[in-house]
Every structure is written in C-alpha cells, then in structure tokens.
C-alpha cells in the first residue's frame, strides 16, 4: 500500500511539471494573442482620422450610399415589436426598407404589428435563393410604405433571416435583433465601407454596446450610463475588450471572423452565393462569416470583411448568473461547432489571414484555453500541495491568469477612451477601471467554467437555444 502511494506520488512528481508548463504555455499564447490584439488595435486607431459628425457624413456621402433592407427577425416580441419597428423606420439613411420577419410567433406579434401599422396582405414576387420554412403571407402598410412584414412558419433566427434575404431586393441587407436598438446614424456609418470600396467589401459589422443602465425613449438611447449590476458591468468591459478592440484588430488584418447577428450589413449576392445562413448552426452569425472567408478564399477572390467602431447597436445583457451561463454555454457550443466544421482552415496558408490568424485565434481562445485554464485551476493547487511543482510555477500561473488580465482589460479601456473617445465621464472611467481589475478574480474563472459546460453540451450533441429572458430597456 505504501509502495503504491509512493509510486503515485512519484508519477505525479514526474508528470506535474510537464503538465504545468503546458498549461502555462497555452495561457501565455492566449495572453499573447490579446496583447497582439491590443497592439494592432492601437496602431489601427492611431491611423484613424477623427470621426466626422453624423450630419457631415450625410452631406459627404449620403447620396453615394447603396439601398439597404433592414431585416428584423421576430419571435414572440409582441411587447416590444412596435417600438422596435418605429425605431428602425426612423433610421437616418437615404434609401432603406424595413422587413420584419415574424418567425411563427406563438404570441400576438403579427396582430400587434397589423394593428399598429394597418397592415394589408400583398403579393410580391421573390426568388427562393436561399432555403427557409414556408412563407405564410406578406403584408405591407399604407401608412409606412417602407415597411414589409413577412409571416412564416417557425424555423429559428437563421431561417427567418434567410426568408428576409429572399424577399429583399436591395444589394445590401442589414440584420438587426428585434430587441436591440440602433443609433439613428448607425446604418449610415456602417455603410461607409461599401461607399469607399463597393467592389471589395462583402460584410461590415458595427459595435455592440451594453444598454443596461442607459435611458431609452421611443426606441432611442437618450442617455448613456453604466449598469447598476456588477455582472453587467463586467460584460461592459468584456464587450469593450473582445467586441470592440478585438474586432478593430482582426478587421485590420482581414481576419474578422464574427459580425454579430445583432447588427451587421452584408452584400446580398455574396450571402446568397454561399447558401445564406445555416439553420442548423448554433452560432449562425459566426458560421456565416467563417463560411464566407472559406468560400471566397477558395475561389481566390479579393474581398474584405470590415469592422467600423462608430455605429452602435445597443443590447441588453443578462444581469443574473443563470441566463448569462446559458448564453455563454450557447456561444461556446456555437464556436466549437463552427471551428470543427472549418477545422481545415486552421493554420492553413491557403486561407490567408483568415486561416493563419482568424481561425487560429478561435482555436486558442475558444477551443483550447478554457480546457487548459480550468485544468490549471484544479491541477496547479493539487500539484503544489503534493509538493510536485515549485512555487515559481504557481506564481507564474497566477501572474498570467489573474494579474496580466488586469493589464489587458485596462489596456482595452485606455484604447477605447483615447482612440474612440467614447468614455468621457471621469466617474465612468474609474468605475470601469475597477471592474476591469475585479473581473479577473472570479468572473473570468466563472466564464471558463461555463465554457467547459458548453464543451460538455457540445459533446452531448445539445443543439437547442434555450430561453433568454429580457429585462427590457430603462425608459427615459
């Protein structure tokens, strides 16, 4: 018995340093990616010209924009749909149509719209260019000639957007979540890359900001404020680091792999050419862009997937652990599904920066790191307690996982403030700096555990979305 314990101790002592070094190496690469992201974003932001006012953008290129259809898939949104549609109809853009796709709602979404806009059934020819569930009817409004409502059988968000793509006749379409809010000038600003280089650009994404805490009136964010909930505050820092600074960096290398489904502008013909959104994708927005990169690179075409930070889409984030865990597990499953579908792109020079940088960072950040970092949470203290590794290894692990994270989060905050000029209130800056430090002690670890649970869901073959409760916007 004693010999057996000694043997186990000996085995652990022999393999522990190797495991510890692997854990450290993966986390160092993970941090290195974020560090590179910060550096590239800093250069890109440094080269940017100061942002013109929205009215100046209108004067400058308003008449050079391409017509856009805004596609708003809606499922059981009866409480907010009218306000959302009014908000979309009041976007400042020269030629815009709003197409609401009622995805077989079981509540009164369609009836509410019909009553508010006096909808009437209409006939409209459309090409079935991408697959979707059958359309039950099309409705137009004599009050709002730019509004079209598509009523279809339930098929999920991707399926609903596909129906919208078929029905729209404009060269560009914009996807928005029916429960998100766009700034009035967001569409004009997000369309700028299509004005600058209409032959090259195939998709453009804008910034997603956390609306919790902001005051909203008539579908517009009237005053920007930080959320009261600490959990939402952590997400503000996270959105800033990953969704703004990260996307600026990847975009400047044409390796942007995600344009959020909540707000993106796409060339219709390109999306149709790749078969539209995949209805079976868990993260349909990630899947679309990765597929776009894969196909266009395989065809040897020049193209650009661009991120512009100025246009803002406001969205509610979960303020309690349950829904947030559900969201993160779903994101993880989506990332894994897309990664394994496109694993051939990994570090493959044929796919250029999308393969060498884009899909590789998905592999490191979304696939490998959660597993390795959580392995570290468990194994490192055990190894140390068993005296199998030296304190230096533990210290380096703590340094890389907890302490260096402070630098990365605050670095993103500094860049966001200096480069984009978004946070001007001193109190907000200080509060966010506090959140940026705190998030490394608990929130980051929790996130990684949710990602492991996402891995587990993925391996079990779970595909459903689950329910995402909304708290609603704070009225002004």
């Amino acid at each position: 018995m004693t010999a057996g314990v000694l043997d186990l101790h000996g085995i652990v002592a022999a393999i522990a340093p190797a495991i510890a070094y692997v854990v450290l190496a993966v986390i160092a690469v993970h941090n290195g990616i974020y560090l590179m992201q910060l550096a590239v974003a800093a250069v890109a932001l440094g080269r940017r010209q100061p942002t013109a006012s929205a009215i100046e953008d209108w004067w400058r290129y308003g008449d050079a924009t391409l017509p856009v259809s805004v596609l708003a898939p809606a499922y059981n949104e009866e409480a907010t749909i009218v306000e959302s549609v009014r908000s979309l109809l009041s976007l400042h853009y020269p030629e815009v149509r709003v197409i609401v796709v009622n995805d077989g709602s079981t509540d009164a979404t369609l009836e509410t719209l019909a009553e508010a806009f006096a909808l009437e059934p209409v006939e409209r020819a459309f090409e079935t260019a991408v697959p979707h569930q059958p359309i039950r009817g099309l409705y137009a409004s004599p009050l709002q000639h730019r509004l079209l409502v598509v009523d279809k059988e339930n098929g999920g968000k991707a399926d609903a957007v596909n129906a919208g793509i078929n029905v729209c006749r404009t060269p560009l379409f914009c996807t928005v979540d029916a429960d998100s809010l766009l700034d009035a000038d967001a569409l004009l600003r997000v369309s700028k890359p299509f004005v600058d280089d209409p032959d090259l650009v195939v998709a453009v994404g804008g910034t997603i900001c956390v609306a919790n805490g902001c005051r909203v009136r008539s579908g517009r964010v009237m005053s920007i404020a930080l959320p009261d909930s600490l959990l939402a505050m952590f997400q503000v820092v996270e959105y800033m680091r990953a969704f703004t600074i990260g996307r600026i960096a990847w975009s400047s290398m044409n390796a942007l792999m995600l344009i959020s489904g909540a707000f993106g502008l796409f060339r219709r013909s390109t999306v149709v050419a790749i078969g539209g959104y995949r209805s079976d994708a868990i993260g349909e927005d990630l899947e679309l862009i990765v597929e776009m990169h894969a196909r266009l690179r395989e065809q040897g075409r020049d193209y650009a997937v661009v991120f512009v930070p100025e246009p803002i889409c406001w969205t509610q984030v979960p303020e309690t652990l349950g829904p947030l865990a559900g969201q993160r597990r779903r994101w993880q499953r989506g990332a894994l599904q897309t990664f394994f579908r496109h694993a051939k792109m990994l570090a493959n020079p044929r796919y250029g920066s999308a393969g060498l940088v884009g899909i590789s960072q998905i592999f490191i950040i979304d696939v490998a790191t959660p597993l390795i970092e959580v392995l570290g949470y468990v194994m490192m203290p055990v190894f140390w307690a068993m005296d199998a590794i030296a304190w230096d290894l533990i210290a380096a692990y703590i340094g890389l996982t907890f302490v260096f994270g402070i630098f990365l989060s605050i670095g993103a905050l500094v860049l966001d403030t200096v480069g984009l000029g978004r946070r001007t209130k001193i109190k907000s800056l200080l509060v966010l700096a506090g959140a940026a430090m705190l998030e490394n002690f608990g929130y980051r670890q929790l996130n990684n555990i949710w990602r492991i649970l996402g891995w587990w869901d993925f391996l079990r073959g779970k595909r459903s979305w689950g329910v995402m409760p909304r708290t609603g916007f704070k009225p002004s």
């Binding site: 600058d196 605050i410 001193i426």
Partner: protein, 345 residues
Amino acid sequence: MTLLQGVWWGSWFAAAASVAAIVVLVVWQSIANRLTRRRATRKALLRSRLIVDWLESELPDSDKLEADDKKILVELGHEFVNTIRGVTLSRALNVLRSLGMIEFCLSELDARHQARRVHAIELLAALSGADARDDLQRKLSDASWPVRLAAAKALIRIDAMPDPERLAAALDTHRHGHSRELRTLIKDIARRDPLRLITLLDRGVNEHIRVLIIHALGRSGAYQVVASLLPYANDPSVDVRAETFRSFATLQHPLAVETIHAGLSDPAWEVRTQAAIAAGRLRVDESIDDLAALLEDPVWWARYRAAEALANLGDRGRAVLAERVATGAPSGPLAGQVLAESRPK
C-alpha cells in the same frame, strides 16, 4: 531571475503600469473634457453672434476674436454652406469675408488634420468663388484622398472644372478608385457639362471610368447623350453594357428602342435584366415576344424584370402574363405574382 520569476514580476509590472495609465488617463480626460466644454460654449456663442448679432448689426473687429475662433468659424461656415441657402447664406458669407476668413482658409489648406483641410476647401469655395481656382487645383495633388475629392467637388461647384482626365488621375487611386463618392462627383460634372464627359468617353478610358461616366450621363437627363451611348451597348465589358442599358432606362429616349430590343438577347444575364427594365420603362411594344421568351430565362432576376416589363406594357403585356398563369407554364407563378403586385390600386 528565472523565466518563471520574470513572468510573475512582469505580470505585476504590466498590471501596475496599466493602473498608472488609468491615473494619467483620468487626468488627461479631465483636461480634455474641460477644453471640449469650453470650445462647445464658445462655438455656441459664435454661432448665435453670427446668426443673430453680426447679420443684423455692425460687423465685429476681427482683432477681437480669440485665438481659436477662426478655426471654429471655419466649422460654422462649413455648416452654413451645407444647411443655409439664399440671402441669409450670402450675408453670413459676407460677415465671414469681413472677418478675414478667406486668408485664414488659405492657411488652413495645409493644416495637419485632413478634416480641417476639407472644411477649409469647402468654405473657401463658397467665400472666394472662381478666385479660389488655383488654390483648389493645387489641392487636387494633396496626399489625402478625401481632401482631393473635396477639392474636385469644390472646383465643380465654382464652375472651374478641371480637365476630367486630370480629375481622373487625381482620384482614381488603387484604394479609392472604385469609391462611390467618385460616382457622385462625376454625376455633378454630367449635370453641368455632359458633352465634356462624352468627349472623354470617346477618347477611350478604362472600363471602370467608362461605367462611371455612362452612369453619370444616364442620370444627367440630357437626351443629347443617347446617340453617343448607343455604341456602348456592344462594349466588350458586361458592366459597361449593363450600365448603358440602365442609362437608357433612366433617359427613356426612343432613339434607344432598337438597341434595347437587341439587348434582350445579350449573352450576359446582367445585361438582359437591364435591357428588360429599359424595355418596360420605354414601353417597347415590339419587344413583347422577346420579353415573353425571357420569362423562361435561367436567371430569376432576368425572368422577374421581364415579367415586370410586360406588366408595364399595358394590356398586351399583361395578357402574356395572364396566359402564362392560365396555362400553368413554369413561369406561371412568377407571372401571377407580378400581375398581382403591379395591379393598379
């Protein structure tokens, strides 16, 4: 120090440095906020003086302006030029001239920030008119594309249009050559002097510029360009041919009827689609049979535009669509939808 100790201490150093950066940022942001507030207050004051006081009473002494006031006045002048018209604008421009803004705009043409150069160009064109031609032409060689574009637009606005070839050379760069802003600029030229663009087109420019010029001529509403556009319906480039038919659809001149009719059997679907639109707009009755044949085109857009054109051609065209519906032809559902969609309300 070992590598592992280096990682430990390096992480703490980075974290401490980032905290120090936040402290610096807070101080910097406080100063920046104060300066921004002061500038906004001054801008509001100058705006109200310009609109309310200076327009109505004696002009101010330019020496009494604060150091940054002229920079603010350039922004305000630029705003006025884009938002005010008529007598009020003329009077506002007179005030700005008397404040020495022409000289200031000339000095701002070489400002470091691109936005300031653009504002100065636009205001200078409004203040000096044709006198600013040489300075604006110089800015056609600016290092920044938006500045060159602003200079080109300003030159066109003051009726001092440079040679279109020079314009093309200034604006057709690798990165910005396909910008849709260029399209707007050429449309401005076409509105003022379409024949000059025809001359340029006939001189043999590259495919991209041909598309832009034909597009602009189509939007110019100048019927005299139709004859010159006819040969481009047989251009080797699909984009040029499609754009030519798009222009015929906009100009709606009977001189293009025969060419449109021929375009319905073009090998490229993009061209057939545009020809079908043009046939519908011009109500080319002799195209009914070809449009009917196009209803079986392999490409949906060509079929749809053909059906739409037939619906536009009155009773004979609608009868073709109705017949497709009645006989259950493959194009029947589309014909039915287009008939319903185009039904007179």
